[in-house]
Amino acid sequence: MTNLLKILLTEPFRLVLALVVIMSFVGLNAAYLVWVERKGAGRFQRRPGPTEVGYAGLIQPIADAAKLLSKQLILPDGVDATLFRLAPLVVMAPAMISLALVPFGEKLVGRDINIGLLLIFALGSINVMAIMLSGWSSRNKYAIISAARVVSQNVAYEIPTLLVVITMILATGSMDLNEIVRQQAGFFWKWNLFRLDVNPLAPVTFLVFYICMLAETNRAPFDMAEAESELVAGAYTEYSGMGFGVFFMAEYANILLGCSVATVLFLGGWQSPVGIWSGLFWFLAKMYFLVFSVIWIRWTFPRTQFYGLLNLSWKILIPVSLFTLILTSAMMKIFHGFHGV
């Protein structure tokens, strides 16, 4: 028995186990975030939302998934079949792998490596390529416009995101997500969000990161890529059945990932706000709070224009994040001496 446990705890098995857990976590979350989104949208719009399938519509996501699975994957004439089939996988895989790096608890992390943050952002940029692939291979004008939008948008939010991340790396001196969380132990004013001694504009930095996360996950008000009133369904127009379903799941997986990273970087990850009983519960509470806010924003605001996002990025987000970066490095140099260097 102990031998079996030992084998199971060896690194390869641990990794496989972690990925399986993450996959089921993402699958369940995608399904039930759809339910939360529909139910939430219903509440925002003064209607009950799904009620028919199961109690309070709780089985609705399963019924939806069954419907999508039972549908034919239509391959339209003239599409680039390989890329067309590949794109949903390429969009899903990075999100899954990235979530394996997120520390859900002190020991609850798929793969604890010391450059986790870097890897997550490296994997995150694959997302854009996947949507571009799907748009390009679909042989549909709406899909191509959508692909072009995604790529042009990418520059607008990647730069401020990375500037914010560099600021956070400077402030914490680590790219290890678990280490960043460990530093935020104690009461909630120890969170990076309130670490004004290192970065006096920390809440602003968080806001910049949050806005960029919305853009990165293609969520309203930055959902220009799949703007359904303009581009039908954008890059996903030609996808049917589970091909579409996987894109849909990937959207929620990316929201989960974005909110997780925001939680780790700014909200103290699994640390409790009162200093005791830290653990998975706090991580999930903070993450789902952010997820809820993302849904809330979606059902409140109209969509921006893509030049609106570019203006926002170049005129506000990039200067602000650049300024906080310089400010933080100055603060670090003057008051903290660059982590003992």
Binding site: F44, R46, K141, Y142, W299, P302, Q305, Y307
Partner: protein, 375 residues
């Protein structure tokens, strides 16, 4: 094949044709817009009409006036009351029928209710075009109150056919009067909420201010009317310029905004809802007693030979019915001048060089009802 002349030949840029519609979420029906695009910029947007052409005018020419009356509710399904008003107005003018004042007041009240409900649908659908989902449900909540009120007196919720030649189908009851007063009291704070929730939203303002400018000159050139021309600073409102029914006794203003952009058209419609509430209130205060149907409406209605026209201010602009009679039971010619066709006509010129999402915002701000374009 030669290139269309609008493509700048000196640059020889490659363009492609994007078929927007006949089934597309932004066109709210079966309108097709053939767009020649240079990337996301529109080189030329050519509306193709006729997908829902039902020969309404021809139908008018082979049936009696009373038989054509239900059709008038089905041209612009969102302003059934005002359209019927124009038709019965034209027939009454030709037949020299005196409509009782109570009927005229009720016509004005119900027309204005209908205008509010039409603007509410536009409000929701327009925000849907801009990617805001929630206002639609809020607007439909308010519209529901109007539909319930009108259902109570007319029996239908969309195509009312409530006005009859010489009066009304039936009188309003106390429940309607009471309910309408309650609705007016309820709607005013809701308009304030819409202002806070939608009109003052920074994203919406960025999407609308300065987008899709339409000059008064362009409106005149294409015959655009209604909120479109009033959003370009021209105070053209049929209710003011050539008052019909009892509008001359009502105290209201035709809101105009000089900017000519999508925001101006948006604000015109929102302000019009407030003005319509004022008209309804006054109408209810002044509502006289008496019959709602003219006496001596002939069972077989034959209009004297001649050319008769009656124009009303529908929710989308000037709607005019022209009847040419040769003295028979069946008109020689029925011409329906619908506002949406004129409002759509300027889209090609106004959208030139615009980005696709901005052009769709412009199209939404024109408030097109496709069956009204094709008739």
């Amino acid at each position: 094949m030669t290139a269309p002349e609008t493509i700048p030949t000196q640059t020889q840029r490659e363009t492609f044709v994007l078929n927007l519609g006949p089934q597309h979420p932004a066109t709210h029906g079966v309108l097709r817009v053939k767009m020649t695009m240079d990337g996301e910029y529109i080189v030329r947007a050519e509306p193709v009409c006729g997908y829902i052409h039902r020969m309404q005018e021809k139908m008018g020419e082979n049936r009696t006036y009373a038989q054509f009356l239900p059709n008038t509710s089905r041209i612009d399904y969102l302003s059934a009351m005002t359209y019927t008003h124009a038709f019965v107005g034209a027939v009454e003018r030709a037949a020299r029928l005196a409509v009782p004042p109570r009927a005229e007041y009720i016509r004005v009240i119900t027309s204005e209710l209908n205008r509010i409900s039409s603007h509410l649908v536009w409000f929701g659908a327009f925000l849907l075009d801009l990617g805001g989902f929630t206002p639609l449900l809020y607007a439909f909540d308010d519209r529901e109150q109007i539909l319930d009120l009108l259902e109570g007196i007319t029996g239908s919720r969309l195509t009312y056919s409530y006005y009859r030649i010489g009066g009304l189908y039936n009188d309003v009851d106390d429940a309607f009067v009471k309910g309408t007063r309650e609705f007016v009291a309820r709607m005013r704070p809701r308009l304030k909420m819409y202002r806070a929730l939608v009109t003052e939203n920074i994203i919406l303002r960025k999407r609308l201010i300065g987008i899709g400018p339409i000059s008064a000159e362009m409106c005149r050139k294409y015959g655009a009317t209604g909120p479109v021309i009033r959003g370009s600073g021209v105070a053209y409102d049929v209710r003011k310029i050539e008052p019909y029914s009892v509008y001359s006794e009502m105290d209201f203003i035709a809101p105009t905004f000089p900017e000519g952009d999508s925001m101006a058209r948006y604000l015109v419609r929102m302000e019009e809802i407030a003005q319509s509430l004022r008209i309804i209130e006054q109408g209810l205060d002044k509502l006289p007693a008496g019959p709602v149907m003219a006496e001596k409406v002939p069972r077989v209605l034959k209009l004297p030979s001649g050319d008769y026209c009656y124009a009303v201010e529908a929710a989308r602009g000037r709607f005019a019915v022209r009847i040419v009679s040769d003295g028979k039971e069946i008109p020689y010619r029925v011409k329906l001048r619908s506002p949406s066709l004129s409002n759509l006509s300027l889209f090609e010129e106004a959208s030139r060089g615009m980005l696709l999402p901005d052009a769709l915002a412009l199209m939404g701000s024109l408030d097109l009802v496709i069956p009204d374009i094709d008739r």
